[in-house]
């Protein structure tokens, strides 16, 4: 066989667009299976709506409507009362992948990559051939109606038709209509209905409506009027970055020196901390130069113990020289920071004690809101929730855990409701840290004898700017030890509350029985006493009833406490 020449082989060389790539790999975006694909579409649209409302400080009102047009053929309409989309961004938002306002900011939000909604537009286009109809207004004079398609080859949005309408009522919001095929609407636990129900529980400030294909209207009403605080951009913590992050940030910053860059763009780095960084970098340089392995090891250990000054001193003049060299790095322009220097700084970060990262950017739902959400949507007999204080995993990434428990009432059977940053996780439950943490708790200790049959729902929300997902589908959270432990601790606490409630309930039940028994005999006893004391029965009876009343007063209060 003749060998082909390289230049001939490279004739076929072409560049694909990112849309083309995801068209071939739609499963990467969650479009896999007819039911899951539908849920993914709704997830993308609703996530966008809720995020937009949150950023703009608006109480969300989200309407989802699903029309069945044929076999596995639907129209999906999602409308919100969010801030709307300025005309010039419409084609980008819906038609260009990897374009958005969030990916480059260090904020906690539901969506992140700038792929979600354009992925949905592409999926609709791929299956039905139809453009997505967008109706939006930022509340000004106009309502824009635009049909958007994606030019897959170019990864460009194309507005194929546009109409401007007057906006006399000052309507503000966004309405998306997409036609899709090869999807199926069913009311399973992985379908749209369940997804929206779980979303409503975790977002009690949102009013969510669903019109199902058969015309049935389901309302998940707002349970709280409190608008969540908009997400806040967080500066990265020194322990949460790798060399490449530091290096690239240094190339992009506008600060004039490395020192200003470190102080200005990281959390927990003060001017004083920079002096400490200088000392540690110098010490590490000196230690790395030591030839004798045993001594080197000892020095590292001492550095880990914080003896940086002593170490520097022990190197005498060379110590001082090195310190001065490193000081010069801090006065350089950040763009001149070398990879090696960035590496040294990152290495020093590992030895330095920093305050835990600030957690002001974390946005828990809040205990009261979760309880409102659960009560509102599930109507249980008992509900309790716990928001733990923020913690850190992998040394520098802040996260926070919220759990809740609903018991009895309209509930039947056991369920775990899993969330990451308020977004319901419906798939891959088996590999999720929330599942393993919930399963690891010995529920029998909390009076739940048969977990699977218990009328109980456990709610877990993991909050972080960087949720450690196990896979690209973002449907399960990795078993980071700190996260696992936090969930367990929280669950044990609410388990104790449940136990108290159930104990109270048992005692109360027992006492109600005794009281009824006593009350049954009041008449007879009153009559007997009336004969003995010769007082009228009508006087004696209220006295006895008062006595019984008094006796059962205290325990009732105690039982009620369990519900507090």
């Amino acid at each position: 066989m003749a060998k082909s020449e390289a230049k001939e082989l490279f004739k076929e060389f072409k560049i694909q667009s990112v849309s083309e790539f995801f068209r071939r790999n739609a499963a990467m975006l969650g479009y896999t299976g007819k039911v899951r694909s539908f849920t993914t579409l709704i997830h993308e649209a609703v996530t966008n709506a809720l995020d937009a409302c949150e950023e703009a400080g608006i109480l969300p009102y989200v309407k989802v409507e699903i029309e069945e047009l044929g076999k596995e053929h639907y129209k999906l309409i999602v409308e919100d009362n969010g801030p709307g989309i300025p005309e010039k961004f419409i084609s980008h938002v819906f038609g260009k992948m990897l374009a958005g306002t969030k990916a480059h900011r260090n904020i906690q939000s539901r969506g992140q990559q700038g792929i979600g909604i354009s992925g949905a537009v592409m999926f609709a286009q791929m299956t039905s051939g139809k453009a997505t109809r967008v109706i939006t207004s930022t509340g000004g004079d106009e309502i824009i109606e635009a049909w958007v398609m994606i030019d897959v080859e170019k990864n460009e949005g194309k507005v194929v038709k546009k109409i401007k309408h007057p906006n006399p009522t000052g309507w503000r919001g966004t309405r998306i209509e997409m036609e899709v095929k090869d999807v199926r609407y069913i009311r399973s636990k992985q379908g749209p209905y369940w997804y929206l129900k779980l979303t409503a529980i975790a977002n009690p400030h949102a009013h969510i409506e669903l019109i199902e294909p058969d015309g049935k209207l389901i309302v998940f009403p707002r349970g709280s009027e409190e608008i969540p605080k908009p997400p806040e951009e967080m500066k990265p913590h020194p322990r949460g970055v790798i060399t490449d992050d530091l290096f690239r940030m240094a190339k992009k910053t506008r600060r004039s020196t490395v020192k200003r860059f470190l102080v200005g763009e990281f959390s927990r780095i003060s001017s004083q901390k920079v002096s400490e960084i200088v000392k540690y970098v110098a010490a590490l340089r000196l230690i790395n130069g030591v030839e004798e392995e045993q001594k080197k090891k000892q020095l590292y250990e001492r550095l880990a113990n914080g003896e940086v000054d002593i170490i520097l001193k022990s190197f005498g003049k060379r110590g001082k020289q090195t310190l001065r060299q490193v000081e010069k790095i801090m006065e350089k322009e950040p763009s001149k920071l070398t990879w090696h220097e960035a590496e040294e700084i990152i290495e020093a970060f590992k030895y330095i004690k920093f305050l835990a990262p600030p957690t002001s950017g974390l946005r828990p739902i809040g205990e009261e809101n979760i309880e409102k959400g659960l009560t509102n949507i599930l109507n249980p007999e008992f509900v309790t929730s716990l928001t733990r204080s923020p913690k850190v995993y992998r040394g520098g990434i802040p996260f926070q855990v919220e759990v809740a428990l609903a018991f009895g009432g309209s509930l039947s059977g056991f369920d775990i409701l899993r969330y990451a940053n308020r977004v319901p996780l419906l798939f891959d439950a088996g590999s999720c840290v929330t599942t393993s943490a919930v399963r690891s708790v010995d529920w029998k200790r909390y009076k739940v004898d048969n977990l699977e049959d218990a009328p109980m729902v456990v709610f877990v929300n993991v909050i972080s700017v960087h949720v450690p997902y196990t896979s690209t589908g973002k449907q399960s959270i990795a078993s980071e030890e700190e996260i696992y432990e936090e969930i367990r601790l929280a669950l044990m606490e609410i388990g104790r509350r449940l136990k108290k409630y159930l104990s109270g309930k048992h005692r109360k039940l027992h006492q109600v029985k005794r009281r009824r028994t006593l009350e049954k005999y009041v008449d007879e006893v009153a009559e007997a006493l009336s004969i003995l004391t010769e007082k009228p029965k009508e006087e004696i009876k209220p006295y006895f009833l008062g006595l019984i009343e008094k006796k059962f007063e205290a325990p009732e209060v105690e039982a009620a406490e369990g519900e507090a």
Copy 2:
């Protein structure tokens, strides 16, 4: 709280590059965990080398060298004797994601997306900050030495340093050197050593060498001189496309009519077939117009039975009119084909009988080669393999299954070697159809009593232009029923061969024992007979030995057959 205006929120709107995206989502490309990340790097480099050699018709000689530079810090060198890379493509091949020669062609190859090797370059850069050194020549006068980095923000390759060397010996090939951190070299079943070993088994035409960090040289020598046929571009089969494929192909084609487009760009569509398509599209249009549900259903059933002519006739004049309308579609310019028409054609495809897709593009390894590979690398006592004929899954996607079995010899314990298009699959074994098919076989029937302890290796290679992976990691194959069944059938066949071999071996063993027993008594019997017959013992003995020889002749042949 004040509501934020939309235009303010959109101030932050930015466009990410695809490199930026994969930098944040390196796990999508297989860079997850220190061991797996290393394997992924090697996989990308070796896959590129083998694919390039195959396309160029070269017997591959691949050298992999791993140097340990520090803790979790390595240099990886991969050199091949492939066709080389023309100078002007170097920055694209190594520095630009989604650029390559394969993604847009319908061919069977190891790599496909044009992300692999640039992803590796990015991972190296992200962890070590270093450029990848590429030394390549297409065999001409020059050797190009280039250091490539990725401009992540722009998704552009940058050659940061370039040197041209003379090439007096006419060397041809490519050598890549990358420095990486945060990876770990271990000799586990998910590490580089095992990956290369499995690659060598499935590619006996390749010579593969590995120098481990401790300097140990491991050679997987070439076992076959047969150069595999270069992959062939395959036209899609009508049953393997969706509306969006047809629609987009029609927009891009240069053919003058829809008819020519269908005949020219699909397999199994002849001019005659186009007339059939016209009839079916017309019939479907007519049936769709029928109001009465019962009648409609009947007509669909009759159409599925192939009664298209009768149906058209039954509509009389309208039938003829519709037929003429549809005929006009076939004479249109393809770019004018509407989505709806494309949809109708795809719908008609489902009713029409097509020949199975051509399978000339499928490239099995071949029975002889697999056996060479297994013998060469594993040194078993018995080996057998089976390449099944091509089949189709999901109605139109051709695939082919190869299985092999190695038993005894140097083997200890049971293993499944999984491959897709000759590429070893090391992860997610649990969810792979190959695993479930192998486990579903009742190996006891084939004389393997205790599978887990059997000195046995089962090899499975699934070949297809579109391997149905379960997830984006491309490490496990979905349980498509046809694929599952093909693997099972093949395994049962080689199971029977194993049984025959083991039976023969048992019988042979048994007979060797009996023969030895008989031979032990030859002396005594000969002596006794010598006394009785008064003939010399020396005459009688050879006669007896001959008798024994004869008796055990046949079974030995039979036993040997099992090995054929």
